[in-house]
Assembly symmetry: C2
């Protein structure tokens, strides 16, 4: 199991590593899209694979032993850069960009060919995953973080690939349980609704709220 860790980073260094990570992950996301959609012949594929192998070898010269984990610092707050939905250095993440308005969270994301389920439509599971992330972040943002206990998703209409908005908010709390709700919307209106229960794990209870946030992270 990788780590929750605390590290100190200067603002300058943070700006630098953010730019490097975003640039690299952005390039790999473009490659992922090109891989799904390519129609080129075998020679071009073979040449592309040589470049990809060379890039991988360069990046593997020094690697983390496992996943990125979740890191905290006074400068950067929480860095969940490996997160599968929002991680800025994770090419699997679309990524969803989160903004906060009081206790409401809005996630914006442009879902391309790599997020397909039914033909031309966003995979239902990806929509569930974006909602899980947003609902968990809404609970955390409201000061009652937790791991996902249950997630219920209702698909109202098809979600066409393209720009999508995810909204989430804390509905209520009951002891160690936080109840959050949210929606996915497109130009067609609300396409998906969800509610979830987020539970502070046993091993994180009895700590200060700040420490709990540090050790729990999001869904």
């Amino acid at each position: 199991m990788s780590e929750y860790s605390i590290e100190e980073i200067t603002a300058d260094h943070l700006a630098h590593i953010t730019a490097v990570a975003q640039g690299l992950a952005g390039d790999v996301r473009a490659l992922v899209d090109a891989t799904v959609r390519t129609q080129v012949g075998d020679d071009d594929v073979a040449a592309a694979r040589e470049h990809i192998a060379a890039a991988t070898a360069l990046l593997r010269r020094e690697q983390l032993p496992g996943a990125f984990g979740i890191r905290f610092s006074a400068t950067a707050g929480k860095r969940n850069w490996g997160n599968a939905m929002v991680g800025l250095r994770n090419p699997v993440a679309p990524p969803m960009h989160m903004s906060y308005d009081g206790e409401k969270i809005t996630g914006t994301v442009d879902l391309g060919a790599a997020y397909e389920g039914p033909a031309g439509l966003v995979h239902g599971g990806i929509l569930a995953a974006l909602l899980d992330q947003a609902l968990g972040s809404a609970a955390e943002n409201a000061g009652v973080p937790g791991m996902t206990g249950t997630l219920n998703v209702r698909y109202r209409q098809a979600t066409v690939l393209g720009p999508v908005t995810v909204s989430a908010w804390l509905d209520r709390t009951e002891g160690i349980k936080s109840f959050a709700k949210g929606t996915v919307s497109t130009a067609d209106g609300v396409t998906v609704e969800a509610d979830g229960v987020f539970i502070l794990p046993r091993w994180a209870r009895g700590q200060s709220q700040e420490d709990a946030v540090r050790t729990v992270g999001e869904g």
Copy 2:
């Protein structure tokens, strides 16, 4: 919106394009993992980015205008190669490998650093997405395909990054609704349970079952 399409492919050509797609997507998955876990300095990152851009440019010489869609042929059956969870040419897909034993579906998948949520654990949303895929496939495999109507996921314990088994089966049908259930298991036992309702879309009703499978695809 991309397409459901029917195409004819010889067995030899199918074997060839399968190998090409798997090789390319496998290489890009390795690059994704290396991107999340790299610790190298700026010079190596810059050199890697040049290779990645070169690979992308090669693959973009000829591209599909949109997503891969879902393609059918007598030789290959259904090809959902762009699917975000199981698509063999989609580097976002871990991918999950599905096998069928009567009406039970088993999906096996090894979830690395790119699928992280809480530190060292699989993202709850990725688990929901794998279940959505498996439950929808179970309904389809039982002859009652549909788009996801609702998906309810219960997280019983943490799912550590690594090998995971997804099981799914059709529970019952009611008219146009198929009810499926499933679990995620690891060496720790069952970690997640889910049930879902899959609904034959209005525009696919009144067709033969074969045509309905062709036009619906999975979750």
